[in-house]
Symmetry: C2
Subunit: 338 residues, 2 copies
């Protein structure tokens, strides 16, 4: 039984969306996991009371009296609030009592707690948020998407390695194609870090590096390589493109409204608008920490939290942590890993 | 009469698209301008022969035997090919014989030629490509969108100044709202350059700086400030988001095809697909050089070249250069300009 922890107090609509999401996951997903809701037990129970017939055999509640707010300074908050739902839950994961932990709370604090409590794999300097961008075909993993605004070559190369393992293990791509997000495809494009990263990536063993790609190749198949599986970039550009993409559903809504208000309600367009609804893709794995941590948007609803539980279970089921540890170890021993 | 020069040999489909675009502009736009086609005169004439009834009273041809290829190294090509269409045309602009110059050729070479031949305004260290992003309401100016991958605070602040003048003069926004593209809105977000730029921009006189904005605020109105007029960012993120946005029409086409192939042909959706067609927005002004230079995509068609001519004429008509010179002079004398 896979044990998934969920920060019941993290999120704009906590604990309501978190409790409802846990219930949804218990009811809807394959039943090989349990959920531990971490937070103010009385509040959690009061929300659970809205689900009177619920089978609670796979549900655990762990009391944590404190809460880290969305606007608190991440590192200071993690240090000052050992009894917060985030720190207690991440502590249970670090102690091996949970196999994964999910939070829709303060992203910086989740990153800090995971780094401090779980620790980083050898050779990894900073954890990375890997976001799944939907395409008409299958998802593309983009990392980093916000944790690290400035990145060194070593960090970008690690993103490529971590993304490759995740894409292979969790997304089921046998030979994930990795692209380096740049301003042009030609060698020598981009600033000093991108130019160096391109040269290093060409020599990383067991990685299908296709080279520099452009912004137009992220979600539309590349003319030569087809769909890319892993897009590597710094957290500034990754975060901007992620949020830009998330705004496309709203833009399309405005355009349809202007063209013909009836179109917004037209049933053939519903799958398109649903495709562009970011809540469908909730839950970004935090890669590089020794454990499975899934980061969700603050405004996640129950469906989004349920999707995040599914992502956590998938990652545990395939043994992601063991694979990352094994591969990073081998890679760090190779010349390209130094 | 406004004198617009056009690089007839620059572009994937040159000189065909360039000549046809010039003819279209002469026929369709208000008639207060002339066009000078610069390039191999015999080739230009042979393409002009396809327009037998054309009134050539506002059309001039200047012979330039050499061509700079799309893949040539920009600075070296500009120096080695003084008889190229790009260098001859930019030279005519620099000598005051043209009021503006347009090229869909090698972007780096156009940037280099404009910088070398026209020169930069005092206080400007590098020219910037300003792209117009369409929104459901009106366009947003995003700069830099590819000329400068790494930017200093001084450069980003100059982008904000140049963008403000362009948005006011050419786009007709009396008090353009400027946003700094960042990973979050709070003070202290982003790397060292973004943090410092945010602090400097708050004190720039005669600028409506709304603060940090996120990727989701570029083309969808900001919750507090509404539509932003000028988005400031480095050329790496600007270029990636521009090309990502340009790929949205293809993505929507794929999604519609999947949902219901009939939708692609449905007339109510045509304005939406047309909105997402990047050729509608051809022509990015190069800001910071002493002159009007418009940069176009290599794959620009005749309609795109015609739109670029319109942009050049607009910029000359409102006296953009004089305004930029006057305002940068004042700003550079003020404390925030040092």
């Amino acid at each position: 039984m896979i044990r998934v922890g969920l920060d019941a107090m993290g999120g704009d609509d906590a604990p309501s969306a978190q409790v409802d999401g846990a219930v949804l996951a218990l009811q809807e997903l394959p039943q090989d996991f349990s959920i531990t809701l971490v937070g103010r037990a009385a509040e959690i129970e009061s929300h659970l009371a809205r689900h009177p017939g619920l089978d609670r055999s796979r549900l655990v509640i762990v009391d944590a009296p404190d809460v880290i707010g969305m606007a608190e300074k991440p590192l200071a908050a993690v240090r000052k609030k050992p009894q917060s739902s985030l720190v207690v839950g991440m502590g249970l994961h670090g102690a091996g009592k949970l196999d994964a932990f999910i939070s829709a709370g303060n992203t910086g604090a989740t990153l800090a707690a995971a780094t401090l409590i779980l620790g980083l794999y050898e050779g990894v300097e900073r954890a990375s948020v890997a976001s799944l961008f939907p395409t008409a075909d299958a998802s593309v993993l983009v990392l980093d998407s916000g944790a690290n605004v400035d990145c060194t070559t070593k960090e970008l190369v690690n993103f490529a390695r971590l993304g490759t393992i995740y894409a292979r293990d969790v997304l089921g791509r046998p030979n994930p194609k990795v692209g380096l997000l740049n301003v042009g495809e030609e060698e020598g494009k981009g600033g000093a870090v991108l130019r160096e990263t391109h040269l290093v990536l060409k020599d990383v063993p067991r990685m299908t590096y296709v080279g520099n790609i452009e912004g137009g190749d992220i979600v539309v198949p590349h003319a030569v390589h087809g769909r890319i599986d892993v897009v590597v970039c710094d957290g500034y550009v990754g975060n901007v493109v992620l949020k830009f993409y998330e705004s496309m559903g709203r833009l399309l809504g405005q355009l349809l409204q202007r063209a013909d208000p009836g179109l917004l309600a037209a049933s053939p367009l519903r799958p398109v608008l649903r495709f562009l609804d970011p809540s469908q893709y909730a839950g970004a794995p935090l890669l590089g920490v020794k454990g499975i941590t899934i980061i969700c948007h603050g405004q996640s609803d129950a469906a989004a939290m349920c999707a995040a539980v599914g992502k956590a279970v998938d990652a545990v089921r395939v043994g992601l942590c063991a694979h990352i540890e094994a591969e990073l170890g081998t890679l760090n021993d190779s010349p390209a890993g130094t």
